[in-house]
């Protein structure tokens, strides 16, 4: 069964049609790249997948079930900016997901429970190359470190689907390459279906299993409002890239006897 099925989805804001009759499916553990010119509705589409916006017409199914009407912990997300909480340290940011699920009233854990979660979060920070930066606040981190942190934070809740809106768009090229490698490794090692918006075609080809290009078929000013974006190209990467080619990623490291090996494949991290 497909992880995500999009069936004849339209999105309109008032009179303006942004997305026009889009249908496609994403298989489980796929890595879908959305590309297209600025303003064509990529972010809008991602927001529908997130549950922040509802389609005007059409349906979106996740694992065969209709999408929840609001964001939940099935779908993780990383934006270009503002994806981490400035008032929490790196460790606090990563722990937050677990704390919220285990402490319904206060959203904060204490004692043994907290220590368990903290250990898990430290391991995850280590996986994304942020070992040593646990006590830093996001404002004291470079853009690349913040995005690594955002990924770790999102993965803590073990989402089935990860939505990324130009997550590396604001990073310098060198740092960008590193974090792309990290992203690919995380996708390989976890049970994730990824949908990622990007402006950078080379990034799309480097990471994706499939590339969808959105485009407005008619783009004259007087038509712009009346016609939305459709899928202009649908490219499957060849040779097919398959997730989990390398060893499965295990976050807590507790039930994996070979845990020291798990992080050995980690590329050198450059904290900028």
């Amino acid at each position: 069964m497909s992880a995500i099925q999009v069936e004849r989805v339209w999105k309109e804001y008032g009179d303006q049609i942004v997305i026009e009759d889009i249908s496609f499916e994403i298989e489980r553990r796929g890595f879908l790249m959305l590309v297209g010119p600025s303003g064509c509705g990529k972010t809008t589409f991602l927001r529908m997948l997130l549950g922040e916006e509802a389609p005007t017409r059409g349906t979106i199914l996740i694992d065969g079930k209709p999408l929840a009407a609001e964001p939940d912990c099935d779908r993780g997300v990383v934006f270009q900016r503002y994806s981490v909480f400035p008032h929490l340290t790196a460790l606090g940011n990563v722990m937050l997901g677990a704390e919220l699920s285990q402490a319904l009233l206060l959203g904060k854990l204490f004692g043994a429970k907290r220590r368990a979660v903290e250990e898990e979060a430290r391991a995850l920070l280590d996986q994304v190359g942020l070992a040593g930066a646990e006590a830093k606040y996001p404002a004291a981190m470079s853009g690349g470190m913040q995005q690594r942190l955002a990924l770790a934070q999102a993965l803590m809740r073990r989402p089935k689907i990860l939505l990324l809106d130009e997550p590396f768009g604001a990073l310098d090229p060198g740092i960008r390459a590193d974090i792309q490698a990290l992203m690919q490794r995380l996708w390989n090692e976890t049970d994730l279906t990824v949908v990622m918006v990007t402006h950078d075609l080379s990034e799309a080809f480097r990471l994706g299993t499939r590339i969808l290009a959105f485009e407005r078929s008619r783009n004259r000013p007087e038509e712009r409002e009346r016609y939305g974006a459709t899928i202009a190209k649908d490219i499957a990467i060849w040779p097919p890239r398959i997730a989990g080619g390398s060893k499965r990623f295990n976050r807590s490291g507790r039930d994996d006897p070979a845990k020291t090996g798990a992080s050995s494949g980690r590329p050198e991290v450059q904290a900028s």
Binding site: D72, H87, G107, M156
Partner: protein
């Protein structure tokens, strides 16, 4: 060299900073001397010696009638009122401001009302206030609360709504409920902003305190000033005004210190 590139050295800066204060003092001494030379009983600009004598009397010699040290009793009474009132209005503003800023329904309900109410001149409402609240501490505290609360709550609601939407979405993908978002995402980010808002309201709070004490009270800095105003006892009024200024300045400095101390992440987050 352009004037805007000329920077004083550390020593020059200290001298420059002291200059206006010194000039003010000199001007006072001069005019006071001139007036006293003409009429030794002039009360408007009393000699410094007289003021020092007066303050020493009030501060270090117990009042024969009550046995109190008038100056300190006044200070304690005023500060206590100020403290209670500002505590109430800050805490109320924090709770209601977060609710208004976070929940669209609450915002729709209260935003227009608070916007209008915050424009009403609290001083004109004094008579009603005294009748409803009586003349005890309650009415004085209420006046300060009424004078500061609407602006605090507006400010906070605005700040909450200025938080990036991404944070709320991210928190939801981490499974947070509305309550948890308020508690773990919004509240901690509002606390340092509350300090800013509170600093802005310190001036008005003093004003309302003085106005309330002028009408019905038997101690307090504002009370004393109004009591002796009929006799034009500037030898009490001027030191009291200076003292209030100093207290207000210290309160402001303390709040800034608290903010820097308690919210280390905020200074950087605000600058960016």
């Amino acid at each position: 060299m352009r004037l805007l590139n000329v920077k004083p050295t550390r020593g020059q800066a200290v001298i420059l900073a002291a200059l206006p204060f010194a000039l003010t003092c000199a001007a006072y001494l001069l005019f006071s001397h001139l007036r006293l030379a003409e009429n030794p009983n002039d009360k408007l600009l009393p000699a410094v010696g007289g003021m020092v004598q007066m303050v020493t009397d009030l501060a270090f010699h117990p009042d024969p009638r009550t046995g109190d040290y008038t100056f300190w009793v006044d200070t304690a009474a005023s500060l206590q009122r100020l403290f209670i009132a500002l505590s109430i209005s800050t805490i109320a503003a924090l709770v209601i401001g977060i609710v208004m800023g976070l929940l669209p329904l609450a915002g729709a309900l209260l935003n227009p009302y608070v916007a209008v109410i915050s424009m009403a001149p609290p001083l004109a409402l004094l008579p009603i206030l005294f009748i409803v609240m009586g003349l005890g501490e309650t009415s004085k505290i209420t006046l300060i609360v009424i004078g500061t609360f609407p602006l605090l709550v507006r400010d906070l609601a605005l700040r909450v709504s200025e938080l990036p939407r991404e944070q709320f979405l991210k928190a939801q993908t981490l499974g947070a409920s509305t309550w948890q978002i308020a508690l773990r995402v919004v509240l901690p980010q509002m606390l340092p902003r509350l300090v800013d808002a509170l600093r802005l309201q310190l001036g008005p709070a003093w004003l309302f305190l003085i106005a309330a004490e002028a009408i019905a009270s038997d101690s307090g800095l504002g009370y004393r000033i109004f009591l002796v105003r009929r006799y034009l006892a500037m030898d009490i009024i001027l030191p009291y005004v200076a003292w209030i200024t100093l207290l207000a300045f210290l309160a402001d400095a303390a709040l800034r210190w608290l903010q820097a101390r308690a919210f280390p992440w905020f200074a950087v987050a605000r600058a960016s």
